[in-house]
């Protein structure tokens, strides 16, 4: 018999070093001088957040008129873990070889994927990690896939141009990376892309994938995208999703998709063979 309390999933609380101790660390700045009154204000605010056993680990003068706090406290609240539902990207994780094999056998042509940082966003680190040959954390980028024709369009691609290119290149999926999120510009840009796509009748023709540090799957869905990926996503996560989603759509509208396959297979492949 265990002498340690078991986790109570109906009443889940943070863990410090003893089950159910509710320990949390907080760090914040108050725009006042670091005085005993400032310390008291920090404690009162922490109480209002639903904590007790509040310990101010440090109060530092970060600048004139600014006090920085590190606080440890016990959270009074709990959540029922058993009732939690989260929208997740629906795809089985596959390796590059498995994905290539799946496309070769089930689709029989390269899937065309266009990636870009849209609007005025100039931060290509995300899209580069997913598309460029090199990849990310040892997971090769989409350019490396034999059965993907993946192109990184880089930074500051306008939504309009991206969609035009998608038609021209008969793209199957569009990857949009958004890094800058000040004033929610990323959400505005993502929504605008989908609105344009709807007007152009492209919304259901393409798989729309968003990515970025402030992007989540539910948020991407809300913007009208088909999936959203956040920090830590590997190229194979994205590729797994694209191929699975493509196959899902293919099986639900077989006749049209077959037509598309025939049409597309006629076009000469610019980047034939292994890359």
């Amino acid at each position: 018999m265990s002498k340690i309390a078991e986790v109570n999933l109906k009443k889940l609380r943070p863990y410090g070093d003893i089950m159910d101790d509710g320990t949390i660390q907080l760090a914040f700045t108050l725009p006042v001088e670091a005085t005993p009154e400032a310390r008291e204000a920090a404690v009162l605010l922490t109480q209002k957040m639903g904590f007790d056993q509040i310990k101010v680990a440090t109060m530092e003068k970060a600048a004139n008129g600014f006090a920085f706090f590190v606080i440890y406290a016990r959270l009074k609240h709990t959540v029922d873990f058993t009732q939690i539902k989260v929208l997740k990207v629906d795809a089985q994780k596959r390796s590059r070889e498995e994905i290539d094999e799946l496309i070769r056998t089930r689709i029989g042509r390269k899937l065309v994927v266009l990636g870009a940082c849209t609007g005025y966003d100039a931060h290509t680190v995300g899209i580069d990690a997913i598309i460029n040959m090199k990849g990310f954390a040892g997971d090769y980028g989409l350019e490396r896939y034999q059965w993907l024709d993946a192109r990184n369009l880089g930074a500051q691609v306008q939504n309009e141009d991206l969609l035009k290119l998608a038609i021209q290149e008969k793209a199957d999926a569009i990857l949009v990376s958004k890094v800058v999120s000040q004033h929610n510009i990323h959400i505005r840009d993502l929504k605008e892309l989908i609105q344009r796509a709807e007007k152009m009748g492209l919304k259901d023709q393409l798989i729309f994938v968003a990515g970025g540090p402030r992007v989540t799957h539910p948020m991407a869905l809300e913007c009208g995208f088909d999936a959203g990926f956040s920090v830590g996503t590997k190229p194979s996560d994205v590729a797994s999703y694209i191929v699975e989603e493509y196959l899902r759509r293919q099986s639900s509208q077989k006749p049209q998709e077959n037509a598309k396959v025939t049409a597309v297979s006629g076009k000469g492949k610019k980047r034939g063979g292994a890359k």
Partner: protein, 522 residues
């Protein structure tokens, strides 16, 4: 100070390649001008007004220059028309600019004064403008003296602490900048609003909204300069101000930076081409005139080679960084800049999980120090491999600070634990400065106490990067810079000679092109 043993003949040969790479570009520079250079000329004469167009303030210099370009009259230089206008209307530059921009006067329809008179007045106006720049430079030097400035460009006193502010609101930026100075920062960079580099005009007035940063405007420069001067006096420590002299308005920003006493400008000969898809001729012509202003005002430039390491693998692309540094150095020398003004950039961006990663980072940093001993080299922090684990990120920054102080980097752009999450909070910057002060103090003289093992991992890696750089520059010299960039010589990006933004703003100079600044800025 420990040094690496690197082949001096190989370094010399790299510099020779850079010199011959820059030669054909020099011919281009001598025979062309751009809309941005002509706008900068007017700004140097003190034209800073703006006209409201559809609810937005649009600079007078843009309207004047654009009108001349549309009539194919800009090849003679804006001064050819503007100075004649001053003679004919007896107006000051400011008055004439306003009258022209509001289209009350058409510079092309005025009677012509004798060319010798136009040239004489142009020279006098430009001399006065130059004298103003010199006076501002001396004022800046005086404030530095009064506040006991300790900065040494060669890094021998340890790295200068450089942080960014990026709230989008210049008044909020002031609060953040002053707080950073109080915490120990020596230099503040006001990050520009995303994509300002692609605007073909400089926004006007004090601004309170931006994306990922704050617009660079003349008024914003003034507001921040004043705030930092005041804070510097309070602290008894000179606080440097930095902004971005890149993009389609590069020469204008140089002019504004010089007039408003900025200390540092981010200015790279090739950054715009590679990372902003600005036309290569435009960028290379613009960078030269920018750097002529910068040379006179003795502003330190920061080049952007760190960007090569964020887009391409840092382990494999050290030679691109070094090759680009040699090229940037040569273009700066050609613009009459001295080595102590060349903040050649690089970064610590290798995969943190690579075995012995610090040996290679130290090798690259020390190599940069040893190849450019007089230059205020700028070391940029890890960004590429950072994620939301702020504790791990803070540790990465600590190691970055350690490498910086060990290898005598001159300017250390501090990393932020919250990199990749948001623009820095006040507390993020405070924590980061505390981190740097701890390490810069604790390891201040470590570099003097060690030496690098002959033929060891560090020295061999640096030697390999230098050899690769030699080969890379040799290839670029053979192909020519334009073709080499087209062939992805840098950052795996390909650009063409006539592609990119701003190409239509490049103009052939007419035989009677008038711009005395080319003779005066030295």
């Amino acid at each position: 100070m420990a040094h690496l043993t690197l082949d001096p003949a190989l370094i010399e040969q790299c510099r020779k390649f850079a010199s011959s790479i820059a030669k054909p570009i020099d011919a281009l520079i001598q025979t062309h001008t751009t809309v941005a250079i002509e706008r900068a000329v007017l700004r140097l004469l003190g034209v800073e007004g703006a006209v409201e167009q559809g609810g937005q303030w649009f600079p007078e210099v843009n309207i004047i220059v654009e009108d001349l370009r549309r009539e194919n009259a800009l090849g003679q230089g804006v001064l050819h028309w503007f100075i004649n206008g001053m003679i004919q209307t007896r107006m000051t530059p400011t008055e004439l600019a306003k009258a022209t921009a509001t289209r009350k006067i058409n510079l092309l329809k005025l009677p012509r004064a004798p060319e010798t008179e136009v040239q004489k007045i142009a020279l006098a106006q430009c001399k006065a403008a130059r004298d103003h720049l010199v006076a501002e430079r001396e004022k800046r030097d005086q404030i530095r003296k009064e506040t006991g400035d300790q900065f040494v460009p060669d890094g021998s006193q340890g790295p200068l602490i450089y942080v960014i502010v990026a709230t989008g609101n210049i008044f909020e930026d002031v609060i953040q900048a002053q707080a950073a100075a109080q915490a120990g920062a020596h230099a503040i960079a006001v990050i520009r609003s995303t994509a300002q580099s692609l605007l073909d005009f400089v926004p006007h007035g004090a601004t309170t909204e931006g994306f990922g940063g704050t617009y660079a405007t003349q008024e914003n420069f003034r507001i921040m300069r004043k705030a930092l001067d005041e804070e510097g006096r309070r602290l008894g420590r000179y606080i440097r101000l930095t902004n971005y002299c890149s993009g389609l308005c590069m020469p204008e920003i140089a002019a504004l930076g010089a007039m408003e006493r900025l200390d540092f400008l981010l200015n790279d000969a090739m950054y715009g081409i590679l990372f902003r898809d600005i036309n290569m001729k435009r960028t290379l012509i613009d960078q030269h005139f920018s750097r002529r202003i910068i040379a006179l005002s003795r502003i330190i430039i920061h080049t952007g080679e760190d960007n090569y390491l964020t887009t391409a693998d840092a382990f494999e692309n050290g030679h691109q960084v070094l090759a680009s540094q040699f090229i940037n150095e040569r273009f700066a020398l050609n613009a009459q800049m001295t080595e102590d003004l060349m903040g050649l950039g690089h970064a610590q961006e290798m995969d943190p999980e690579h075995p012995n990663v610090f040996l290679y980072e130290i090798a690259r940093a020390q190599m940069t120090r040893d190849i450019f001993p007089q230059s205020p080299i700028k070391f940029m922090p890890p960004t590429r491999h950072k994620c939301g684990d702020i504790f791990y990120s803070h540790l990465m920054d600590a190691m970055f600070n350690f490498v910086g102080v060990l290898t005598n980097q001159s300017i250390q752009l501090l990393g932020m634990a919250t990199e990749a999450m948001h623009t820095p909070l006040l507390q993020d910057r405070w924590m980061s400065i505390k981190n740097a002060r701890y390490i810069f103090n604790g390891a201040h003289d470590l570099g003097k106490e060690i030496e690098f093992k002959k033929g060891g991992v560090i020295e061999s890696f640096a030697a390999k990067v230098l050899e690769d750089t030699f080969e890379h520059l040799k290839m670029i010299e053979k192909k020519g810079l334009f073709k080499a960039i087209e062939g992805r010589a840098f950052a795996e990006v390909s650009r063409t000679e006539t592609g990119g933004k701003g190409y239509d703003g490049v103009l052939l100079r007419a035989p009677n092109y008038l711009n005395p600044f080319f003779d005066l800025l030295k």
